[in-house]
């Protein structure tokens, strides 16, 4: 059982967060991103989150998202990106999931 580290994401997720990239690269365990304070995610932010999932997968680690505000959870819903919805705990499906 790998240990899980929680990282609090800051108010606006406009681009990748270096600290998260470093922690993942260090390969010390699973990550949990806390979105409590996040009130905006940009297109670049979304792309980084998706890419983060790919990197984690290749390393055999997981990156999960917790405490999303509805406004940002809805961004994931509209974006139709499976890996992001799964990181919020949704069941995996092929194709756009709801």
């Amino acid at each position: 059982m790998k240990h899980t580290e929680t990282v609090k994401i800051k108010v606006a997720l406009l681009r990748g967060v270096d600290e998260v990239d470093r922690l993942l690269a260090a390969g010390s365990g699973n990550l949990e991103l806390d979105f409590t304070e996040v009130n905006f995610i940009s297109v670049e932010g979304l792309e980084w989150l998706e890419e983060l999932q790919l990197r984690a997968q290749s390393q055999g680690a997981t990156v999960t998202f917790i405490n999303l505000q509805p406004e940002q959870y809805k961004v994931f819903k509209v974006a139709h990106i499976d890996s992001l919805l799964k990181a919020c705990g949704a069941p995996m499906r092929s194709g756009p999931s709801c």
């Binding site: 905006f40 297109v43 979304l46 406004e71 961004v75 509209v78 974006a79």
Partner: protein
């Protein structure tokens, strides 16, 4: 399809997926934007478009070799400056509209990813228009340009995108398909791509058709063929100038532009002379044929695309005509049957059909010929000052825009010559195979979320204004202001001495007539006779003296006496909810109605109800309206002293049922509750004594008041399931109304106190409380629940049981039947008529205010449970 495409056209699917994915992410991010952020982005885009308008026009002219540079600049400005002014202050984010009166609001939800087509005729203005609309509504937009105009369309898209991005728009919210041989294939793939939410099509008929057949929601536009009628009332000279402006605009590429003119003969010569004076060329019959041969493609029968947006001189040259190079329009008189003429079709070039007509009828009919020749739902125009002519034209022509006294092309855009919404996408309704006739714009790019809050209807309490309530109050008749009165009563009133009591007390100078034909169930014929009596003696006052039937009949007679033209059909429709009923009653009544009840039961003296029997259907018809309320009620218990015990008990049980049903009705209020509770208490107190000692006026008085209080309660809260069952049983077996009510009471109280199988939907009945209401009645009566039933002290079920026992004891005490069997109805007969009984009760309006929605099978059970002789519960 996708996998085979992947193999055959490598990279194509990936390219499409990439474009759509960019748009999808941007759409998702856009959902977080505020109105202020959006408005800043739109402003920046509009400024960039205004700035680039001349440059974009030039590029478009060069690339398409169509239209007129100056006009393309103008179109770009309409799409930016005019559109911006119209949408600038519109709310498109969050709560966009509130409807305080309806307790409702509207919230905007973006559409998502829009695939937009741009036509060759307006390659840059359409892109400016659609980009601004998409940004204002927080949607992503992917442009698929026309192959022959792709560079100019994409340049417009790119300029607007850069400006938007600099103002903070999400990356990738505007994208476009690059010009290439694969453009058409990419567009087709996107049309069916699962991540595209809406297709916003403008362009050739084929593309619009493809959009609609993609299976996705689509906003498309149909083809046009604009007829314009110059009515004899028009200011001809300005009409001619407007038409020249419009038809020459961008060399006629605008689809709302004039295609065929229909001109009244009175102004025909003046119009044609002015056209020619201003530089238009009038073709001879031979020349018209030559023009038709080149303007219309003989292979397709529709316009020749090669000549779209070319100058008049260029078209003339192609046709072998020699005209001045500066010629504005080729005018082609269309001889013969218009419906067979080649040139009666759409031709987006400076070629215009001309038809002379001799009347407005012919004018509109010829306009219809053009309208229905490929242009239904699109645009038409009329020049006239006669409003009737305009309205008749507009009523008959099928067009989304019927432009009055303006150029149809510039008028169709909106915002330029009139207040239509600015657009470059003309909805054509079902006439053009579209979903809307709108000038399509931002309002069509929003998912409207309606948020209705629960609506609480106004509750009111109404009853008879003046009620005289003690024994001896009949004396009040002496002070009733009347010069002429009709007394409506029954034959028995005379025999019981009541009639003389009334007649003696009316003022000496009052002219009095008596109508005493009311029987047990007054029918419409009897009511008509009464009205005839009134018409003859013209009373200012009607006095209803008797029981419920007499009072009900007098109410209806008074209404029809005051309103002779009233149609019974307009006021007697059944209804689910009083506030939504179709019945329209008069607002007021002028003849005074004085009600003097001689029984203590219906409470009709204070209710807005009246029932009569329809002789043809044999059904009872209920009328409900304030205009039926008497103005005065005189409750003199002396008039009830001669009632036999049987009728005393029957009518009192009716009153008791009224009070019990009003108490639990879904329309009950604090006002009716108080009345109902006191009515119940008085009946329990007075009924046994009044039955035992009918001559005792004190108990008669209490019972009389109880019936009146219960009447006020049902007059506002109505009755329930018990009445529905009683109406049905009473009609089938001829049982007096009160007695019929009594046999169901123990069953319906238990039924209404139970958890409903189906709750009754009603906005002002938010909580099921029938059981607690019965319990309150039991407490009000000081009943003690029987410990032997094993129910907790003061528990609701215990109190409901106590109430049922008390009702049982009361009815037994006054010798009232408590079940159907006790009425003497045989088991076989009852069972054979049960289906009809159930049907009739189920359809009774009284059901609709019952706290529990009785389902059909339950109605049958209620009858069955009420059959056998009762034991004390």
């Amino acid at each position: 399809m996708t996998s085979s495409t992947r193999e055959k056209e490598p990279g194509l699917v990936e390219q499409v997926d990439h474009l759509v994915r960019q748009a999808r992410l941007a759409a998702a991010v856009f959902t977080q934007y505020s109105q202020e952020q959006v408005d800043n982005i739109v402003k920046a885009m509009a400024l960039a478009a205004i700035d680039a308008s001349p440059r974009l026009a030039m590029v478009a002219c060069e690339e398409t070799r169509m239209g007129v540079l100056e006009d393309k600049v103008l179109k770009n400005l309409v799409a930016s400056e005019f559109l911006y002014k119209q949408i600038r202050d519109k709310r498109t984010v969050g709560v966009i509209k509130e409807f305080p009166e309806d307790n409702m609001m509207e919230i905007a939800e973006p559409i998502g990813v829009i695939l937009a087509l741009a036509p060759v005729t307006n390659p840059t203005s359409t892109v400016i228009f659609k980009s601004l609309c998409a940004a204002k509504t927080r949607n992503s937009i992917i442009f698929s340009p026309h192959l022959m105009a792709a560079n100019s369309s994409n340049m417009a898209a790119s300029i607007l995108y850069e400006a938007a991005l600099a103002a903070g728009a999400p990356k990738g919210f505007i994208t476009w398909v690059e010009k290439s041989a694969r453009l058409r294939r990419e567009t087709e793939l996107m049309m069916v791509h699962p991540e595209v939410d809406l297709i916003f099509a403008t362009g050739g008929t084929q593309m619009v058709k493809a959009a609609y057949s993609s299976g996705k929601p689509a906003l498309g536009v149909g083809p046009g063929n604009t007829p314009v009628y110059i009515h004899k009332s028009a200011s001809v000279l300005s009409a001619v100038m407007d038409i020249i402006i419009s038809k020459t605009f961008d060399n006629g590429t605008e689809c709302p532009s004039e295609q065929t003119l229909i001109i009244d003969s009175e102004v025909y010569d003046e119009a044609m002379a002015e056209f020619q004076r201003l530089g238009c060329y009038l073709c001879s019959a031979d020349e018209v044929n030559k023009v038709a041969d080149v303007a219309i493609d003989p292979k397709t029968g529709s316009m020749n695309y090669r000549l779209v947006g070319q100058s008049a001189a260029a078209v003339a040259e192609e046709a072998g005509l020699s005209v001045e190079p500066a010629t504005k329009i080729l005018l082609c008189p269309l001889e013969g049957d218009l419906r067979y003429h080649k040139l009666a079709k759409e031709k987006l070039m400076p070629v215009m059909g001309i038809v002379k007509v001799d009347s407005i009828e012919e004018g509109i009919n010829r306009a219809l010929d053009v309208n229905y020749c490929g242009g239904t739902g699109h645009t038409s125009g009329i020049f006239a000052t006669d409003d009737k002519a305009i309205e008749r034209f507009a009523t008959n022509i099928n067009a989304g825009r019927i432009i009055v006294n303006c150029p149809t092309s510039l008028g169709g855009f909106g915002g330029f010559y009139n207040n239509l919404d600015t657009t470059f996408s003309f909805g054509c309704g079902t006439g053009g195979g579209n979903i809307t006739t709108d000038n399509v714009g931002i309002k069509n790019l929003i998912n409207y979320k309606r948020v209705p809050r629960r609506r609480n209807f106004t509750l009111t309490f109404q009853t008879t204004k003046n009620i005289y309530i003690n024994p001896g109050s009949i004396e009040h008749l002496r002070s009733v202001k009347t010069k002429s009165a009709v007394v409506v009563t029954s034959r028995s009133a005379a025999s019981r001495g009541h009639l003389s009591l009334v007649l003696e007390r009316l003022p000496a100078d009052c002219n009095v007539d008596v109508f005493s034909q009311i029987g047990v169930e007054p029918d419409w014929e009897t009511i008509k006779e009464g009205i005839a009596t009134m018409r003859h003696s013209k009373p200012d006052t009607i006095i209803a003296l008797g029981g419920g039937s007499v009072m009900d009949a007098a109410k209806i007679m008074r209404l029809f006496y005051d309103w002779p033209d009233l149609d019974l059909k307009d006021i007697s429709a059944n209804f689910l909810d009083f506030r939504h009923r179709l019945n329209v009653f008069p607002k007021d009544v002028k003849t005074q109605l004085v009600a003097i009840p001689t029984t203590s039961g219906t409470g009709s003296e204070v209710t807005p109800f009246a029932v009569y029997k329809d002789n043809t259907t044999k059904h009872k018809v209920s009328l409900v309206d304030e205009s039926l309320l008497p103005a005065v009620a005189i409750l003199d218990a002396n008039l009830t002293r001669s009632l036999p015990p049987r009728i005393t008990a029957d009518t009192a049980v009716d009153a008791l049922t009224h009070a019990l049903e009003a108490l639990v009705s879904i329309l009950s209020t604090d006002y009716t509750d108080g009345l109902a509770l006191e009515a119940i208490r008085l009946i329990f107190e007075a009924l046994p004594a009044a039955v035992a000692d009918g001559g005792n006026v004190l108990w008669r008085h209490k019972l009389h008041n109880a019936a009146c209080l219960a009447g006020m309660a049902i007059g506002n809260a109505s009755v329930g399931v018990n009445h529905a069952l009683a109406h049905s049983l009473g009609a089938a077996f001829d049982v007096p109304h009160g007695r019929a009510n009594g046999v169901f009471l123990l069953t319906t109280i238990a039924y209404n106190a139970g958890i409903p199988t189906k709750f009754i939907p009603h906005s002002t009945y938010p909580l099921f409380v029938a059981d607690k209401k019965y319990a309150r009645a039991a407490q009000f009566l000081d009943l003690v629940e029987d410990e032997s039933a094993g129910l907790a002290h003061k528990s609701v079920p215990g109190l409901v049981l106590a109430l049922r026992r008390a009702v049982y004891d009361l009815l037994r005490q006054v010798d009232q039947p408590l079940s159907i069997e006790e009425l003497g109805i045989g088991q076989d007969e009852f069972h054979s008529r049960l289906p009809a009984l159930v049907e009739s009760a189920y359809n009774d309006m009284s059901m609709r205010t019952n706290p529990r929605l009785p389902i059909l099978v339950e109605v049958g059970e209620l009858f069955l449970h009420s059959y056998q002789t009762r034991q004390r519960p």
